[in-house]
């Protein structure tokens, strides 16, 4: 995608198989062995599907992980080495799957949350996992030998349902976003105690004025995007001191040009922001190359209306290929 030509978003493939809405997607980050991209999807049919591209370029569903979660699977995430898949469910558990002997098997079940788990995220080192729930807490788990996971922190502070957690791309710093409209940053101190080092709110930090649904970091870790029911995307400058993310001198607040809810946003490796929304559109934004006096500005590259027949629940850039995949509310 060059700066001069007009950008276009074209549907390349349609993956069908789920029998209920698809909530979330995750690309396997492992790029070696020439095996081609692998995608995991999960949803209301309580199943997780693994999709691979064959040599002829066609996509097929290679595995269905079912009969394990007994409610909606809300989110899934691959470990950094691509060998493990974590799935978070409304059944209050998080399951760890390992690919072995040609199939995925459940190697651990993380229990403890009081009700629905909404999101799961692996730290860049692969040794820490974070989960969050409607019980308003964020849990941090440490991987031990033999597929054991020990809970090392139960983080309280949010006053409502926590929607998503995401680790910084290379620091052991965790961000959570919530139905309570705030964004919290968590880090540990010299005594390995985890605590909240920053809360980004509407009143103090030009934060969101409604439910915050999602966040995404860029590869360099100096930019974070959050999206909310207030119909805006906010870009945060997280370069200087990560325990103090700020939005710059003037707060940068984007309109997705959507009249409804934004459900997902994702930054590509080239710092292009893709967002999907409740008005069925996908927008792509980029940072202007020429820096203005007031700070970085962003422009809309393209807006694709009716990308789906219904709400867009999740958008994700494929790490290997310059294309974006999205999942809709219901796949028939």
């Amino acid at each position: 995608m060059d700066g001069g030509g007009a950008a276009e978003l074209r549907e390349a493939h349609r993956l069908t198989g789920h029998s209920d809405r698809v909530w979330s997607l995750a690309w396997n980050p492992f790029t070696g062995s020439g095996a081609g991209p692998v995608l995991a999807s999960c949803g209301g049919d309580k199943a997780v599907r693994i999709w691979r591209r064959s040599l002829d370029g066609a996509w097929h569903c290679s595995d269905v992980l079912e009969d394990t979660h007994n409610r909606t699977v809300r989110s899934c995430a691959w470990s950094p080495d691509g060998k493990l898949l974590a799935t978070a469910s409304f059944d209050s558990t998080t399951v760890i799957w390992e690919y072995s002997g040609g199939e995925f098997e459940c190697v651990a079940t993380l229990e403890g949350h009081e009700n629905e788990v909404k999101s799961v995220s692996w730290s860049s080192s692969g040794s820490l996992l974070a989960t969050c729930s409607r019980d308003k807490t964020v849990w941090i788990w440490e991987m031990q030998p033999g597929n054991e996971y020990e809970c090392v922190a139960v983080l309280q502070g949010h006053t409502q349902d926590v929607k998503m957690v995401q680790w910084h791309p290379f620091l052991d710093v965790l961000v959570s976003v919530s139905h309570d409209n705030s964004i919290k940053v968590w880090a540990d101190d010299e005594d390995d105690e985890w605590h909240c080092v920053q809360t980004l709110t509407e009143a103090d930090n030009c934060g969101h004025s409604s439910i915050v649904w999602a966040l995404s970091f860029n590869k360099k870790g100096d930019r974070m995007v959050t999206c909310s029911d207030d119909c805006t995307l906010k870009i945060w400058d997280t370069s200087a001191d990560l325990s103090q993310p700020k939005t710059g001198d003037d707060h940068e607040s984007w309109r997705h040009l959507s009249t409804l809810t934004i459900f997902s946003a994702h930054l590509s490796s080239e710092d292009i922001i893709a967002s999907g929304a409740g008005d069925d559109t996908i927008c792509l934004f980029t940072e202007e190359k020429i820096r203005m006096v007031e700070g970085p500005s962003y422009r809309l590259i393209l807006k694709k209306e009716k990308a789906h027949d219904m709400d867009i629940n999740c958008v994700r850039w494929c790490p290997q290929v310059m294309s974006v995949y999205w999942q809709q509310k219901k796949v028939s």
Binding site: G44, R71, F90, N115, R134, D161, K163, S210, D229, T261
Partner: protein
């Protein structure tokens, strides 16, 4: 769960005459939407939402061009703990009867409920709605409210 009813003596209204109303065959009339929800049973009392004045024809507005349905309902008391259940009933009934591309907004009438803002937020949080409808006890209560005949 509270012991005893929130509102033990609700005001019950006569079931109004149902006049036939002419409208274009393909248009989505707010009255069609109202007809779908008026007979939903209140979770606590053996009366419909219409009979208890929780809903009326004015409760519904439709924007067919934008594909949106909006319903505003009035709980019978300011501290109604059943407001979220009523909201769920409304949403499920609409989801079952109208095409999935319709965006549905459900709110309590302004000033009608003490914790209005938090209830409206929950009722329109699609993730909370999905999880609530997967809760077997809650789902059973909602299904009972939807199945009643008046």
């Amino acid at each position: 769960m509270t012991v005893g009813m929130i509102n033990a003596n609700p005001v019950v209204h006569e079931r109004p005459e149902r006049a036939a109303h002419p409208h274009a065959a393909n248009a989505l009339d707010p009255l069609d939407v109202f007809d779908t929800v008026r007979d939903i049973k209140d979770p606590e009392h053996p009366y419909s939402l219409e009979q208890l004045s929780v809903l009326s024809e004015e409760s519904v507005s439709v924007d067919e061009k934008l594909g949106r349905i909006q319903i505003t309902f009035t709980p019978t008391v300011q501290h109604c703990s059943m407001a979220t259940v009523i909201g769920l009933c409304l949403r499920l009934k609409l989801m079952q009867n109208f095409p999935p591309h319709f965006k549905i907004d459900i709110k309590v009438a302004p000033g009608s409920l003490a914790n209005e803002e938090s209830v409206n937020k929950q009722l329109n949080d699609k993730e909370r709605v999905a999880a609530a409808l997967e809760n077997p006890n809650l789902r059973q209560l909602v299904d009972e409210c939807l199945c009643s005949n008046f």
